[in-house]
């Protein structure tokens, strides 16, 4: 590949997209034979005298490509469709050194390559505590019981057959791991937005409000003020959910995601949806709901997912994901092609409600402009923002700042650290900064 870092402002000739470095060298050395076979159109463009071709026009236009001059593939060639083969860069990735065993690790969503607000299900980030399974839905059960038999009229068991007969809701919500951006609490640690913010997704989920199930079991809502959600996997992950959120109707048991069933990695066939709350509470492979009169202090709310403060105290039961935003293009680890016009685009979200406004700065936060928000804005969902920018070729620092409908303004690193120090791991919602240098390379920096 051509070294764009040291050659800013040079649009890459199209054929090079398909050539490896070795192949480019081969072309330079005059060995072009292989090109004629594998890269007909591209080869022709390179093999012909460039000056002549340039005068006539673009070879991609002058030489009709094979897709214009041949028969394409029939329907149902792929019974389940796949992305183009040219999209191989757009995949989930692990961050090296984060975890030793893949069963208790994370893969990150490639936010740098995504549009709009919906995360394709196959790119949804993964966080498993003890590996994932592909559970037979015919054998899956959901039990609703009480920490004490007196807290409900009757403990019940539901099959998927039962759950899918019940009144159905579909809602778009973001899902962010509490540890998203956690690697960056103390200092810059990772190069791209995939690794800084990629434990983030947004899907349309379909399922049954948990309230309906609890009412079906005759739960005593006066006494039962907490809900324990438990997974069916080996870790049988558990988290405490406040009954107020269940009563509001917004917590639901979901089987659908983006028009199809949940993916196995995301909890097939049943998971909990707890809008605005960190992902760990959205228990996957949901097998049991227990109503209780006290919180549970489970492992993931007593050993992990607790926020260390400078005082040495840990914040327990910290659950809400506060307003946050990030510019996804241009972002760290990318290079701008040239000076001139760009559409800066990014995502904003708040666990407390709707995004009201997003401001963007290109000078490290000295001055801000309000970005365009792509509506309709959904409650506790990713919200796409865009803003025009003409890059003058000089150094710049790009930032975005979200404001939600409670009036909360996304804080700077300096403000957040003044209260929470640098070792919290969880709930880092600081303003993200991307530095652009003259070469066009964009890198991760932290502005206080």
């Amino acid at each position: 590949m051509v070294d764009h870092v040291n050659r800013p402002g040079r649009l890459r000739p199209a054929p090079e997209h398909f050539l490896s470095e070795g192949q480019i060298k081969a072309v330079a050395a005059g060995r072009r034979d292989f090109l004629r076979k594998s890269f007909l159109a591209a080869g022709a463009a390179l093999a012909a005298p460039l000056a002549v071709r340039a005068a006539e026009g673009d070879p991609e236009i002058l030489n009709l490509p094979e897709w214009t001059t041949s028969l394409g593939q029939p329907v149902a060639t792929r019974p389940y469709g796949l992305p183009s083969k040219f999209e191989s860069q757009v995949i989930r990735r692990e961050s090296p050194g984060l975890a030793r065993v893949g069963g208790a690790s994370v893969s990150f969503t490639p936010l740098q390559s995504m549009f709009g607000i919906i995360t394709p299900s196959g790119l949804h980030f993964e966080r498993h505590h003890q590996g994932w399974h592909d559970i037979d839905p015919a054998r899956h059960r959901l039990m609703v019981n009480g920490s004490d038999g007196s807290l409900l009229r009757e403990a019940k068991v539901y099959k998927m057959d039962d759950l899918m007969r019940l009144p159905q809701v579909s809602r778009i919500h973001f899902l962010e791991c509490g540890a998203n951006t956690g690697l960056e609490w103390g200092n810059v640690a990772v190069p791209t937005v995939q690794y800084t913010h990629g434990m983030l997704s947004c899907s349309e989920f379909t399922g049954v409000p948990l309230r309906l199930l609890l009412e079906d079991c005759g739960v005593d809502f006066k006494k039962a003020r907490y809900v324990l959600a438990e997974g069916a996997d080996g870790s049988s992950m558990t988290r405490t959910i406040p009954m107020e959120m269940v009563e509001s109707g917004e917590v639901f048991v979901a089987y659908g995601q983006n028009g199809e069933m949940l993916r196995p990695e995301n909890g097939y066939p049943l998971r909990l949806v707890v809008p605005g709350v960190q992902g760990v509470s959205w228990v996957k492979w949901l097998r049991r709901i227990e109503v209780g009169d006290k919180p549970y202090a489970t492992k993931d709310e007593a050993v992990h997912y607790i926020d260390l403060l400078p005082s040495g105290l840990h914040r327990q039961y910290s659950s809400i994901q506060e307003a946050k935003s990030v510019i996804t293009t241009p972002s760290g680890g990318q290079t701008l092609l040239d000076k001139g016009f760009y559409n800066i685009t990014g995502l904003a979200w708040s666990g407390r409600g709707k995004i009201k406004q997003v401001d963007v700065s290109v000078d490290g936060g000295l001055n801000w402009r309000t970005a365009r928000i792509e509506g309709p804005v959904q409650n506790k969902a990713l919200t796409r923002f865009n803003i025009d920018w003409v890059w003058d070729g000089k150094p710049a620092i790009l930032q975005s700042r979200a404001i939600d409908d409670t009036g909360y303004v996304q804080p700077s690193y300096g403000q957040l650290r003044a209260v929470r120090g640098t070792k919290s791991i969880y709930h880092n919602n600081a303003i993200q900064s991307w530095k652009v240098v003259e070469s066009g390379e964009v890198s991760n920096v932290q502005v206080l």
């Binding site: 870790s235 039961y317 290079t335 000295l366 303004v409 991760n444």
Partner: protein
């Protein structure tokens, strides 16, 4: 039913937030859970010990179990940082008196261990019982869980070597936990009722307050941290991680790696290895906790008795050949299966 009356019904179902459902509304949906079913799944243990099973276990028994079932990931003394964060260490006798781990405030801990954090002993019991050991969760009997927890408490210097932990004395042990007073719920991140109304936290009040300044917001831009070169180049070739068309390209930070199928081809032996939990610690070509199978093959390929010796090792466990983390015994594995797996590994695990 007319469309009109149907919509009235829907309104009745969803209209008022206080609406309650009569049981018969969802007639034919779900069925009562039996006592045996509830017993089989309701295994959680709360901080007030609701749900705690009866039983007991000694430190000695715990040590045996720990070495057999836990040490391969956590180290013999729960100190290992190889696979997971350490379980014990970082706490003092003084912490056990105050209930606050002092090192958490001074920042002198290189890494927090479970016992520097956890404030409720029920949490540890609950978690071991529901999720451990890593490859065979829920295989421990309550007495085993008491014993393993007793050993961990002894490693943390909270109970003597001759101690036996039981449902009778666990509440006393709770009073010794080094960080039992180390949690606060005085924050705005709990989405339910606040403490003032019998819930948790301050009712959603944020702890930082930024303002939406638009012009000349500060005298200068202070860059607190930039990306170090080693971090820039530690995530593979970033040129391969953005599209090759559009407004930007990924920067080149290494050589391109052909996107080959990393997943091994399916095989009966691989299935067998997966089912028996081998793949949690071994890759086919890569070290995870233990060596990759192709590494094993390389080491043993010229040794005549290798197959028999490895079958014994797979069954009984071992330590020292590949590092300090021991391989746990796999008594559950049938002899024939162990032989099949070893033969497969020594032939290149293809």
């Amino acid at each position: 039913m007319s469309r009109f009356s149907k919509s009235i019904l829907v309104l009745a179902l969803f209209g008022a937030s206080t609406a309650s459902f009569a049981f018969d509304n969802f007639k034919g949906i779900g069925r009562p859970a039996t006592p045996a079913e509830i017993k089989a799944w309701d295994i959680d243990v709360r901080p007030d010990f609701k749900g705690l099973p009866k039983g007991s276990g000694s430190v000695d028994r715990g040590q045996e179990l720990f070495e057999e079932k836990c040490a391969s990931c956590h180290g013999t003394f729960g100190e290992s940082n190889e696979v997971f964060t350490p379980l014990v260490g970082g706490t003092s006798k003084e912490d056990s008196k105050t209930g606050r781990v002092a090192a958490l405030a001074t920042g002198e801990l290189p890494q927090r261990t479970t016992f520097t954090k956890v404030a409720t002993i029920s949490t540890v019991f609950d978690y071991i019982q529901r999720a451990m050991p890593w490859t065979a969760p829920k295989s421990l009997k309550p007495d085993d869980v008491y014993a393993i927890l007793a050993y961990m408490l002894n490693l943390s210097e909270l109970v003597p070597a001759d101690f036996t932990l039981s449902d009778k004395n666990i509440a006393e042990v709770q009073k010794l936990l080094p960080n039992r007073n180390g949690m606060t719920t005085d924050h705005g991140l709990w989405p339910g009722a606040p403490a003032a109304k019998g819930g948790i936290g301050n009712g959603g009040k944020p702890d930082v307050r930024n303002t939406a300044c638009m012009k000349n917001c500060k005298p200068q831009v202070l860059v607190g941290s930039t990306l170090p070169d080693y971090a820039r180049n530690a995530h593979g070739n970033l040129a391969d991680q953005s599209r090759s068309f559009g407004p930007v390209r990924g920067v080149k930070t290494g050589e391109s790696v052909a996107v080959a199928s990393i997943a091994p081809e399916p095989s009966a032996e691989l299935d067998l290895a997966t089912k028996n939990g081998c793949m949690a610690c071994h890759g086919v070509n890569n070290k995870i906790v233990g060596p990759g199978y192709t590494e094993v093959q390389l080491r043993y390929k010229d040794q005549p008795n290798a197959a028999d010796r490895l079958v014994t090792k797979v069954k009984e466990g071992g330590q020292g050949v590949w590092g300090s983390i021991p391989m746990p015994p796999n008594g559950q594995l049938k002899d024939d299966d162990a032989k099949t797996l070893v033969k497969w590994i020594l032939s290149g695990a293809k």
